[in-house]
Symmetry: C2
C-alpha cells in the first residue's frame, strides 16, 4: 500500500504545491500525519508562547487522484484512523469560545491506550479518533490548512472517523487532496480551541463521481448525510447549512421552497462542528430516509 | 388529578398574573395547552397574515407551587405529553434561519396518529412530542412567553419530552410556572420558525431543591445533563452555555479554569436548540459520567 510520510506537509491548499503521490480510484493509501502543533509540544513545559506558528495546522499531501477533473466529486472513504499513544491539549489566552475570559496558557499531555483517553487519574473518555483537516485544493486562491471552506479543510467535525465517506467538490485536475490534524477525541464545539491533538495515520481510498458537485462538503455516516457548512459566525454557518439542506430537499421531493423549508424545521438537525476556527462550522444532518446522495450533488 | 384548562393562558411571565392553580410538591398536574397560534390556524386557507398576534405563543398557567421560595430550584418532571391528532406548520416571510430569502407565507396541516407525523402521502416522521415553552416567573421584569431566558420560556429544545426533568431557578414565591407550545416533532434549529404546532396536554409534577439554583435551566435526560443557554446570536449563546459548563466542571472536579476549559473541548457537546426565536438557544451537553446535579446548581 502506498504511504505518504509526514515530512510531506503543506500549510495551505494551493496549486503551487506539487503532488507528493498519485493514486488511482479504489487504491488504498495511508497518510502519516503530524499533530496540529507540528510535534512542537511534547511536555507540559512546552507552552504555546514558544510555538513556531508557521509549523502549525499542517496537512499531509497533496495527493493527485488519477483522472479527477474540475466539476467532479471526490468520494473519500476513510478506512482507518490510528493515533500515537500520547496526545496533547492546550489553552491559549484569547482563544476558544471563552476567549473573553482571562486565563493562562497551559499544556496537558494525555496517554491514549485500550481505546481510552486518560485525561486524569480517574477521568477517562472513550477515544474517538477523527480527522480534523481534510480537503482538496481550490483553483482561484490559496487557503491556509488551518482554515475551512467549500473545499473542506480544518472543519473539525467529530464524525469524520473511520467508516464514513466524505464528498468533496474537485476544483483542479487531480483534486490535490491533503489531510491531517487528528484528534483522539473532540466534542462538538471544540470549545477551548484544541482537542486531544495527536500524530498518527489515516488510511483511505478515493472514488470519483463525474460532473456533479455538492455545494458544501457532504459527510455520509451509516444513517444520515450531513452538509458541512461554515461562516464568519455560527448564525451565518447555520444559514448556509440550512439553505443547502432545503435545496437538496427541493430536488429530492420536487417540493417548492416553502414545503422544503417547513420540512427542514422537522427533520434537519443543525449541529455545531466547531466555534473556534477562523470560520465557524455548522452541519445540517438529514436522515437517509428523506434524502439521497443524488439530491445532495447538484448537476 | 388537578387539571388546568387551556382558557387559563398567559402571554407573559409576570407577577401581575394571579395563579390559576396551586399544587404541592409530588402532586401530579395536567396542563391543557393551545397550539402556538392560539388555535387560529386550522386549515391551509388560514394564512399568518390574518393572525391576531396578541393570541400567539401563549402558555397555560401560572401555577403556584406550594412553599417554593426565591433561591430554590424547581424540579419539573415531565410525566406525559399528549397531542391532538392534527398539527399545523407555517412559513412566514422574513422569518426563520433563511429569513433573507424571498418566499411566501404558507400553511400546512398534518395528521398525527400511531406515533407518526404524516407530512405528505409518502413522507412520514416519527412523532416526538415536546414542550416548546416552559418556565417560571422572573421577579424584576415581565417577559413575553414567546421569548426565553434564565427563567426558561420559549426554549424550543427538542429533548424536553416525557421522561425528562427540568431544573429552573425560582425567582418569586410559588415559582409561578407556566408551559405550552407543544410540537409533535421538531429538529434542532427549528429552521423555518415553526415546528408541528399542536394543542394537547402536559402532565408533570414538581419537587423543590432548597437554597441552590442553576445559572441557566438544566435538563436531565437518561445519560446526560444539558445547560440551556441563550443569547442574541448563536455565538453568544454558545459562549454562555460553554461558560456555565466550565464552571460546573470546575466545581465537580476542583479543577482550575484552564483544566475545565480543556476538558469541555473533549466532553461538552455544544448543540443548537433553535436559531429563530427572539434569542437563539444553545445547549451544553455533559455526560453524567463527568458531572453531577450538585455541581450544576451553584450554592
Amino acid at each position: 500500500m502506498k504511504r505518504v510520510t509526514k515530512s510531506n506537509v503543506i500549510y495551505s491548499y494551493g496549486i503551487r504545491h506539487k503532488p507528493v503521490e498519485c493514486v488511482k480510484t479504489g487504491e488504498p493509501l495511508t497518510l502519516m500525519t503530524e499533530d496540529a502543533f507540528g510535534g512542537q509540544i511534547r511536555n507540559v513545559e512546552d507552552k504555546v508562547e514558544r510555538l513556531d506558528w508557521s509549523k502549525v495546522d499542517g496537512a499531509t499531501g497533496p495527493v493527485y487522484v488519477d483522472t479527477a477533473e474540475p466539476g467532479d466529486t471526490l468520494e473519500v472513504e476513510i478506512l482507518d484512523v490510528k493515533t500515537e499513544s500520547k496526545g496533547v491539549i492546550v489553552t491559549i489566552p484569547k482563544h476558544g469560545v471563552l476567549a473573553e475570559k482571562s486565563f493562562k496558557s497551559s499544556t496537558q499531555t494525555v496517554r491514549l491506550n485500550s481505546g481510552l483517553v486518560h485525561f486524569e487519574e480517574n477521568v477517562t473518555l472513550r477515544a474517538r479518533p477523527m480527522v480534523g483537516t481534510i480537503g482538496v485544493t481550490p483553483k482561484e486562491f490559496e487557503v491556509p490548512t488551518g482554515s475551512l471552506g467549500k473545499h473542506g479543510g480544518n472543519m473539525d467535525v467529530k464524525e469524520i472517523t473511520a467508516g464514513v465517506k466524505l464528498y468533496l467538490p474537485v476544483f483542479v485536475e487531480g483534486a490535490l487532496f491533503a489531510a491531517g490534524d487528528l484528534h483522539a477525541v473532540q466534542a462538538d464545539g471544540e470549545s477551548c480551541v484544541s482537542a486531544v491533538e495527536v500524530a498518527g495515520e489515516i488510511t483511505l481510498k478515493f472514488q470519483l463521481i463525474r460532473n456533479r458537485q455538492p455545494e458544501w462538503p457532504v459527510l455520509e455516516t451509516e444513517g444520515s448525510y450531513a452538509i458541512l457548512a461554515c461562516g464568519d459566525t455560527l448564525d451565518e454557518a447555520a444559514e448556509h447549512a440550512a439553505g443547502s439542506a432545503v435545496k437538496a430537499l427541493m430536488r429530492e421531493h420536487s417540493w417548492p421552497f416553502e414545503k422544503a423549508y417547513m420540512f427542514s424545521s422537522l427533520a434537519v438537525d443543525l449541529r455545531i462542528n466547531q466555534v473556534v476556527d477562523p470560520k465557524k462550522g455548522v452541519r445540517a444532518v438529514l436522515s437517509k430516509d428523506f434524502v439521497t446522495l443524488e439530491s445532495l450533488l447538484a448537476a
